[in-house]
């Protein structure tokens, strides 16, 4: 029988007091665990969400807002940049500096879930977190290891099918195809083949309904904000917004603001807003057909103020986006030649030269940019160049997220942790009071131990071990309770935030709980232990 067992027996003997003491510590520890795990998961989710690209380029304004809006679908867009600006990354002066540029347009929702207009590159080229969920590259030690892992991941998911639990990515020519996040699919019941009709704005309760899109793919859960979003073909996005009636009370729509600056009401009179446009005249029956963008002579939408776009969406030919500048609402025929050279060449390979005539006036909310690793010096200078030019701004999501996490979120976490630790400390003081009070009853017991040959240091150790056992018991209760609560609340957390947490998700920081509790137990157990140490045997035996 060792001292641990002796201490354990003493703890067990006072079941009620020991249980309540351990429970009070456990509640504090559960709070600490909750704060640690949720913060850890949120941090991890935030950091992971921005993987696959280095920069986000968008309208000037708050960089953090831009990152939050683009990556995490939080808040509203800072503004928009012209589509022509996006093309600078695709085929213009920045083309050599970047490996990939994916445009994003925001301005609609479906049942409260963000609708993002983008290109298939979003899923074909960007390594989404779900691909890495079991292989966090950041944990690999060297650049070579990371590069090797990246190659393996890309090979493995070269066709992007690993991303989808159902269906597949929308094609370049599939203008009215959409991909829905895992949470969206679960909450709305959308599945491949279903139709959905986004509404204007970010509020589920407002906004006019747009044309129907068809779900072609359902994403696997990624544990990121993308689970709570719908992704539609950017071309379809433009079309519905270009044809929509802009409501000033709603948010800026990428198709409506020609300025790179944060929009104001004056911008809404932009050329491609379509006054008097009759949506009923649009026939989107052809959305699954191969588009026919054969027009060579792109034309300037700016010259078409008040005219708007005319999209016949011819059932046979696919949507001919050859705005002919006419203001005849009935004229929805885009004849070859007066249209534009649309890059959306259908599923069979696409060139990224979206050189269609009605590009001008179109806007994108943000551009996800992966810089060219082979042009490292130029790539590194790219944000500075973009920011100096005044048309747009570039933000590094990792940097902004780190700033957010270490700044605001980190401070909140610190405050919560301080409160939680205070609760543990208060519980620890309660434990000290409990043991201290028990000492008067136990003086005789301690004296008996001494009479049996226990040294002063031995009985002192036994009391300290009791304190440590109670703390460790409380710690175990807290860990179990904390993780159980996380497990119980996981569905709600996912529903409301999109953050995927599991009961068995542990943070390395939790490891300090055990030595921390042992340390605390040694402190709070010291006073009762000293009383045990000072117990006079002869005197106490006669009591």
């Amino acid at each position: 029988m060792n001292l641990w067992k002796i201490a354990l027996r003493s703890v067990q003997h006072r079941r009620l007091a020991s249980g309540l003491t351990a429970l009070s510590i456990g509640l504090g520890v559960a709070l600490v665990v909750g704060v640690m795990v949720i913060h850890g998961v949120v941090s991890h989710t935030f950091r992971r969400s921005g993987e696959g690209y280095d920069l986000i380029v968008g309208a000037k304004g708050s960089r953090l807002e831009m990152v939050l809006n683009t990556v995490y679908h939080i808040g509203k867009p800072v503004g928009t940049v012209p589509y022509e600006y996006y093309k600078e990354f695709e085929s213009g002066r920045f083309a050599g500096d970047v490996e990939l540029a994916v445009p994003c347009c925001m301005g609609g929702n479906y049942k409260g879930f963000r609708v993002v207009g983008t290109t298939p590159d979003m899923f074909d080229e960007i390594p989404f977190p779900s691909r890495r969920i079991d292989n966090d590259l950041s944990e690999l030690a060297t650049d070579e290891e990371r590069e090797e892992a990246r190659r393996r991941e890309q090979d493995k998911f070269a066709d992007s099918k690993g991303l989808f639990s159902e269906g597949e990515n929308f094609g370049w020519g599939d203008y009215f195809g959409g991909v829905v996040g895992a949470t969206v699919a679960r909450k709305t019941g959308l599945k491949v083949g279903d139709k959905f009709r986004p509404v204007h704005g970010f509020d589920a309760e407002q906004g006019e309904e747009h044309d129907e899109f068809e779900v072609v793919g359902v994403l696997r859960p990624t544990g990121t904000a993308n689970d709570r979003a719908l992704f539609i073909n950017i071309e379809g996005f433009w079309q519905i917004h270009e044809h929509g009636h802009y409501d000033e009370s709603l948010d800026v729509l990428p198709g409506e603001n020609a300025s790179a600056e944060k929009p104001d009401s004056a911008d809404h009179a932009d050329a491609n807003v379509v006054p008097g446009h009759d949506e009923a005249e649009h026939d989107h029956a052809a959305k699954e057909e191969e588009p026919d963008h054969q027009a060579d002579d792109g034309h300037d939408h700016a010259d078409e103020a008040g005219a708007g776009h005319n999209h016949p969406h011819d059932g046979e030919d696919g949507p001919d986006h050859a705005e002919n500048g006419g203001d005849d609402e009935a004229d929805h025929e885009h004849g070859a030649g007066d249209g534009h050279n649309h890059a959306f060449e259908g599923e069979a390979g696409h060139d990224h030269d979206h050189d269609h005539g009605h590009d001008h006036g179109r806007q994108v909310t943000a551009i996800l940019v992966r810089t060219n690793e082979k042009q490292i010096a130029r790539a590194m200078a790219l944000p500075k160049i973009i920011n100096q030019e005044g048309d747009a701004q570039a933000a590094m999501p990792a940097e902004e997220v780190t700033r957010l996490l270490e700044g605001i979120v980190g401070n909140i976490q610190a405050v919560l942790l301080v409160f939680a630790v205070m609760i543990v400390i208060v519980a620890g003081i309660g434990m000290m009071v409990s043991i201290y009070n028990s000492m008067s009853e136990r003086r005789h017991e301690i004296a008996v131990m001494r009479a049996l040959g226990a040294r002063r240091t031995t009985v002192m150790s036994i009391i300290l071990l009791e304190s440590i056992l109670l703390s460790l018991g409380g710690g175990i209760i807290g860990l179990v309770l904390g993780h159980s609560l996380i497990g119980l609340l996981a569905p709600q957390i996912m529903e409301h935030t999109g953050v995927v947490v599991h009961a068995l998700q542990f943070q390395a920081a939790e490891l300090i709980l055990i030595p921390g509790l042992v340390f605390m137990a040694s402190i709070v157990g010291y006073l009762p232990a000293v009383i045990a140490y000072r117990t006079e045997v002869a005197e106490s035996l006669s009591e």
């Binding site: 029988m1 001494r450 049996l452």
Partner: protein
């Protein structure tokens, strides 16, 4: 085996005056010898046992057990010595309530050298007829059974001296003799010197050697005079 020479012990009263309790010029006990010490209440019987056990250090004199003068040992060493060489049976049993009968026997072993000889503990409990009560806590045992566990516990570390402080005072007459027999039998078997304090003439008359504290404690002698 046991020798006390010029052992004096006094306590300080709250008003600061000393209270002399023991003054023993000489007292000896041989290995395996069984001695009963009798005396009226408050004559220093328990103090004598505490001094022999090293629980209290005498003000002066020597206490030699198995060749060791315990009065020169540090308190920690006396504790260690007590655990290894001395068994103690209390009037009120003093079993530890959190531990089972078996654990109460083994806990003394933990204090002696840290090694718990489970087989010996089982044997001792079997010897006192409690092999069927191993896992019972003290509260689940009768007073007679509790004292039998205490006897087994006192023998756990193969002591040289067993001190029994009125071991039958709190048990019914039916169990008294049983406990005395067990104590004496155990000491005899393992050649342990037994010093049994009692105020019971029935118990005292069973021993060959009876020491009256009033006669060996010079404090009491001088008070009487």
């Amino acid at each position: 085996m046991l020798e006390l020479r010029d052992v004096k012990k006094s306590f300080t009263l709250p008003d600061g005056t000393p209270l002399h309790v023991l003054d023993i010029e000489e007292f000896q006990a041989g290995a395996g010898e069984q001695i009963v010490i009798v005396g009226h209440s408050g004559c220093g019987k328990t103090t004598l046992l505490h001094v022999i056990a090293g629980i209290s250090r005498p003000d002066s004199g020597r206490v030699v057990i198995d060749g060791w003068d315990t009065t020169v040992l540090s308190e920690a060493d006396r504790d260690q010595f007590r655990a290894a060489k001395i068994g103690y049976v209390f009037q009120t049993f003093n079993l530890l309530p959190a531990f089972s009968a078996l654990e109460n026997v083994m806990i003394g072993m933990a204090f002696a050298d840290g090694r718990a000889d489970r087989d010996r503990a089982l044997m001792l409990l079997d010897r006192v007829g409690l092999s069927h009560r191993l896992t019972h806590k003290p509260a689940q045992l009768s007073v007679g059974e509790q004292q039998r566990v205490a006897v087994a516990r006192a023998m756990a570390n193969r002591p040289k001296v067993l001190l029994a402080d009125e071991p039958t005072a709190n048990i019914d007459s039916g169990n008294q003799q049983q406990v005395i027999d067990m104590l004496r039998g155990a000491c005899q078997q393992e050649n342990v010197a037994l010093l049994l304090v009692t105020h019971s003439p029935e118990v005292a008359k069973q021993f060959d050697r009876v020491e009256r504290l009033e006669e060996i404690n010079r404090v009491l002698v001088s008070n009487r005079d």
